[in-house]
Amino acid sequence: MNAENITNILVAGIGGQGVMTAAEILSEAALSLGYDVKKTEVAGMAQRGGVVTSHVRFGPVVRSPSILAGEADLLVAFEPAEALRWVNHLRPSGIAMVNSFRQAPPVVSTGLFSYPDDPVGEIHAGGKEVHAFNAGEIALKLGDRRLINTIMLGAISEQLPFETSLLEDSVLKRFAHKSEKLLELNREAFAAGREAAQAS
């Protein structure tokens, strides 16, 4: 199969941020359009605050589940240092969408390693198209840090090869059986992400 017909989205973040759920929602949206879809994780001990990446590939026929370095169309990074860690997975024309809210692990906070001064700036200096905004702050304003993944999905909704409403529906479907309040909160989060990305 011709790799040019495949869309590669790499979602990267930290255990507990909802990386895998975001990838799941992206996959479901692509599947509903009839694409072949594969999703794979590198999440060894993700529940313990480690690095998590989820690879989503869709197109006519998807072979290998993993996205090769240099072949991701879109990098959705839930944390700026994670964006820097995975940026070389982007193809030259690839785009990075980054939550600029920093989260440092204990090895940084206790002084064993240092946090990069300006990860988003480095990505930009490396010649990649990068959009960054503070999804963490938006989530907290809305009242729940767990909304970060919905905000990030809203942020990339304009870049996907399908209608924005399709992705939004896929997100909201998850909350249809829960409370009306949660549904509304996620609707707001999705819209806020979409708006913030366009302003970035």
Binding site: S66, L74, Q103, S109, G143, L160, N186
Partner: protein
Amino acid sequence: MRIKKLNARQPASSDMRIFVSGNEAIAMAARDSCVKVAAAYPGTPSTEILEYIADYSDIYSEWSINEKVSLEVAIGASLAGSRALCAMKHVGLNVASDALMTQTLIGVSGGLVIVVADDVGLSSSQNEQDSRYWGRFAHVPVLEPSDTQEAYDFTRAAFDLSEEYQVPVIVRATTRICHVKGTLLTSPKVEWTPKAGFEKDPARLVMVPGNAKHRIPLMLERDQQLAKASEISSLNRYEEGSNTALGFVVSGVAYQHVKEAYPDSPVLKLGLSHPAPIEKIRIFRQKVDRLVLVEEVEPLLEKELKAEGIQLEGKDILPRQGELTPEVLKRSVEGLVEREEKPAPRIIAADKVFPRPPTMCVACPHLGVYYTLSKIRNTYISGDIGCYTLGAGHPWNALDTCISMGASMGVALGLDKGRQPEDENKKVIAVIGDSTFLHMGMQGLLDLTYNKGNATILLLDNRAVGMTGGQDAPSSGINLQGEKTSRVDFPGLVKALGVKEERIHKVDPYELPTLFKTLRDETKVNDVSVVITDQPCVLTERYKAMQPLKVEDKDCTGCGNCLDVGCPAILVSRRETVVKPNGKEKELAFATIDTAACTGCNLCVNTCAPDAIIPAENLIENGYAMPEIINAAAPADTVEETE
């Protein structure tokens, strides 16, 4: 700004496909193959297979206490006339192998399938071993699916194969099968009539030497039949390709990687990889200029094919460990063929980003244990398999060995008995979790008491198999279906294993002074002591969060004691260097608490001399601002959930 749209092809019309992981596909295959009994011990990456099967009320399913028992349960069910499945991670089959090596002589009644998941690339394992060896060793066929669809199809095929040839069948999956989600079309449930009950047949079922020796020729004859079947099996498929300069023989997920990297090359795809279709491969060899054999992990088939005189490239060019991804394949095979030059992607220095090693959870009951262990001097600490293996890392560095399930007990005894004069005063401590203790630790403890060892055992009973996601075990008193069942009585159990009553202590691991005193006292006694901690895993519903804490900045002296707890919610807000009266410089680290992540376990409060850690007010309503740099470990209920 506006962002450009990605370019993708318009999709086809919708259909009946579902989107599931390889593990879920295997569970569905069990359902649709009329499996009646399924058993497993949790282990990454195979854990979810049984969790999915537990949803099917037609199947009896269980968490067994270890993989050997799970296979024995499946063997019994097969002999009783039912189809049976057991699932395990690669190292689990080592444990189960004693049963397997003789079961193969007996054969099956109802179909018997062993799903074994190899952790190629060691995403969450202590080694990387190739379970295909067991197929050779035990004279049983090995099927290797390459994606979700085949995980389903091959598991179903495995039951037919098992019954046709009277043989247990291994379905060898890998992490990239189990944890990859892909599309699946299921087939109708099979019309399967159970065998007519258990048949007494001692010559076949009672493996004493006189009976077993007569079964060996039958097993060897079965090998021959399976080898013939492999030659004509539709599971072994030839795929044409326009570029015959290079051809591939490949099994498992590596097939997808080959198709990705070399879409134009001919491929012989092995679904039934053992016994391999030697003649089919010989014919394939004639069609291509050079043949590359791609197998994860060991050069197993390579040796067999080379012994048959088939010329090929294998592990002489491919790596002996890790996944054979398209990148790895291209790098390795590059020397063999001309390749069009691609512009190299622009490299940004991403390798300088700090590591993000896994941490223990916020408020984990193990934190207090490792804090205490890190404060006790002159110890050798043998560890075991579970979350608590993380105690080997920063900031505790309080674990000296980790080998296999239950090994901490025997290793402790060996450290004690084998000690050299310079280690005369060392205290030997073993750390083991509840589920690991029940899996394979009990025997080691019995050995310790029976042989008059001197070691202090920390039995961390958090009532869950924490590392694999908080599954139940006999220590939780809940079964796979979520029903109440008997709960093991640890003090009673270790007493029965020979530990003296006065040497058994139950301690709340959040009460640091008690824990410290108990450990210090017990390590001084020349005997086997068991200290049982009794607080639940924070990933389970049994854990109840309390009011979160914060640091009163004006009271913090920067001593950094609380950081030694290793709780991911405790962070450094600023550093200072001060000069003490004696002229020496001292580094101060002032702490802050990520209050939104804190669940108020109070461990850090115990370590704070100036009482600077106090209860926090209600966060959101009081305009709580998250620290700009916070740690990532989320409270347990947020893990992989958006709601």
